[in-house]
Amino acid sequence: MRTGGDLELFHLTKRYGDTVAVRDLNHLIAPGTYVCLLGPSGCGKSSTLRMIAGHESVSEGAILLDKADISKLPPARRGTAMMFQSYALFPHLSVRDNVAFSLKMKGVAKAERHARVDELLELVDMSRYAARRPDQLSGGQQQRVALARALITQPKVLLLDEPLSALDPFLRIRMRAELKRLQRELGITFIHVTHGQDEALALADEVIVMNNAVIEQAGDPREVFNSPRTEFVARFLGGHNVIRRGARAFAVRSDRIVLRRGGGTEFDAAVCGIEYQGATVHLALKTPADEELSVVLPDRDFFSQPLEIGDTAGVAWAEEDVHVLAN
């Protein structure tokens, strides 16, 4: 189904001299989706986002929003808005003037400008701070202002460049809930670049995993996590063991591995590390082939039959938990 507001990347390529940052990306993003672009640094996710925003030229291909090619338009005329990694708030302007900036550039009258700004500051719960300067705000507050400034242009697509990376872990979890709430309320597409898989899984309606300038896998976060297509995805998302059998490789989730004493198992492995995590216990094991395995057990299961470092345990898994990986 193609409805209004969908964003399509069509053979999108970015070259810097001889290096290819983004190679022939083809993808369709449905309107009103929370998309997370996930990948290690240098995988091309930021270049992709900046091309969509218009801060980076497109080497080849097109970006279609509502079926119109926006890849040659200036940033402000694309129907997108960007929230920068460091927020890029204007240090010499008050919160109100920061949020009003794009309206002022358009020549909107002051009264109307302030009415719209007040509306958006209300939305991000920053009305109290309208008169402050950015340097008088905390990181989380600055982010809310940056969000309001991006949203005042009424974009169809909001682009967020590692929006949570500057925050401390506690605030990060609070702000990501806030982002998700905003996206639900506004019903517009959010494209969120991150290198944190937990962030992507928690937020996204669709996860796009990128590596080496291409999309490795895209889809529903549950589907991507449960059936990683490649070894890279399995390893990058974490929580998986990649096991090789000759030329073939497959993934088994750490929490789906069963440890038994006695027969009926695939192989024996030696326990070489135990980490107590509260609700779960993380075990590191070494197989006879010198492969590392990680196993996550519920604390009750572990403490009913505790293991010590140096113990040997039989490793087993159910057939349906095996995901064959593409080479």
Binding site: A53, G54, H55, P74, P75, A76, R77, A81, M82, F84, Q85, S86, A88, L89, F90, P91, H92, F101, S102, K104, M105, K106, R149, A150, T153
Partner: protein, 292 residues
């Protein structure tokens, strides 16, 4: 050895304070004191008289709106000051912008910034004099214009004129604008420019709404340099003006030549008050201390 931290910081500040007191505060006090002394053709006598000040402004207020010599000289100097300030500001800002935002590699930025300071390797006077073969009646510029048939007789206003003084001032002082503006601009986060662009600002709107406000401290510091230099100048105006153009600095220089030290001192105090007034007005516009 067991000085408290406060005491230690006083000691650390002491060398600078001594130099400052010896070479700045003491001479300044001497000038103010001497400005109240009396003098005649061959001697200076300690006294407390105001006639040096009243002499400077003798008849000036009665003559208004006509300008007495003193007012005319101040006006002339202020006009130079305003013109030089405007030109060095525009040129300095443009060069600083180019160095910060157009030159990509940092090595190249440093090299080019150093190139801007190369003229300072020679003395002021030599840099001024080197304009003369270029601008003179039979200078290179006139010869070229004549041979191209653009003019039929040599241009007289090229040298020993308002134009040549202005040219030399701009040439000598633009670097005082470049360096502080460069310093302010280099601290501007580039993503701010992208953010302005993202919000639909045109190039000029970004310049006016983002770059100029954020360069203000540099502009203010550069302006102070340029204004103080031009207000007190007598060498540039002397050499490039062919000793024909008046300036406040020149008046003071002439008076010291005639050993009218108290009068020259009074003039210097009035000039100092004017310059401080200008700088005070500038600091009202920008809080410089906040930025240092």
């Amino acid at each position: 050895m067991n000085d408290t931290p406060t005491k230690a910081s006083y000691w650390q500040a002491a060398p600078m304070a001594v130099i400052f007191a010896l070479f700045f505060v003491v001479p300044l006090v001497v000038i103010v004191v001497v400005s109240f002394w009396s003098y005649n053709q061959y001697s200076i006598t300690p006294a407390f008289i105001l006639s040096n000040y009243t002499d400077i402004f003798h008849g000036c207020f009665a003559q208004l709106p006509g300008l007495c010599t003193t007012f005319a000289t101040y006006l002339q100097t202020l006009i130079f000051c305003a013109e030089v300030w405007a030109l060095t500001l525009v040129i300095g800002f443009a060069i600083a912008y180019f160095l910060v935002f157009e030159v990509r590699s940092q090595t190249m930025q440093i090299v080019l910034a150093l190139v801007c300071t190369i003229p300072f390797w020679t003395s002021n006077v030599i840099r001024m004099i080197s304009w003369i073969p270029l601008l003179g009646r039979n200078g290179l510029v006139n010869q070229m214009l004549l041979s191209l048939g653009i003019v039929h007789k040599p241009l007289e206003w090229l040298l020993y004129s308002h134009f040549s003084v202005l040219l030399a001032f701009v040439h000598l002082n633009t670097v005082f604008m470049i360096v502080p503006i460069l310093n302010s601009m280099a601290r501007i986060d580039r993503s701010l420019i992208e953010a302005a662009h993202d919000s639909g600002a045109s190039g000029w709107q970004t310049l006016w709404n983002v770059l100029v406000p954020l360069s203000k401290p540099g502009i203010a510091i550069g302006s102070i340099f340029v204004i103080t230099i031009v207000m007190g100048d007598y060498i540039t105006i002397g050499i490039m003006g062919g000793q024909q153009i008046a300036s406040v600095g020149k008046v003071i220089q002439v008076q010291t030549n005639f050993l009218q030290f108290p009068l020259a001192a009074a003039n210097a105090v009035v000039l100092l008050a004017c310059v401080l007034g200008l700088i005070w007005a500038l600091t009202r516009l920008v809080d410089i201390r906040k930025e240092l």
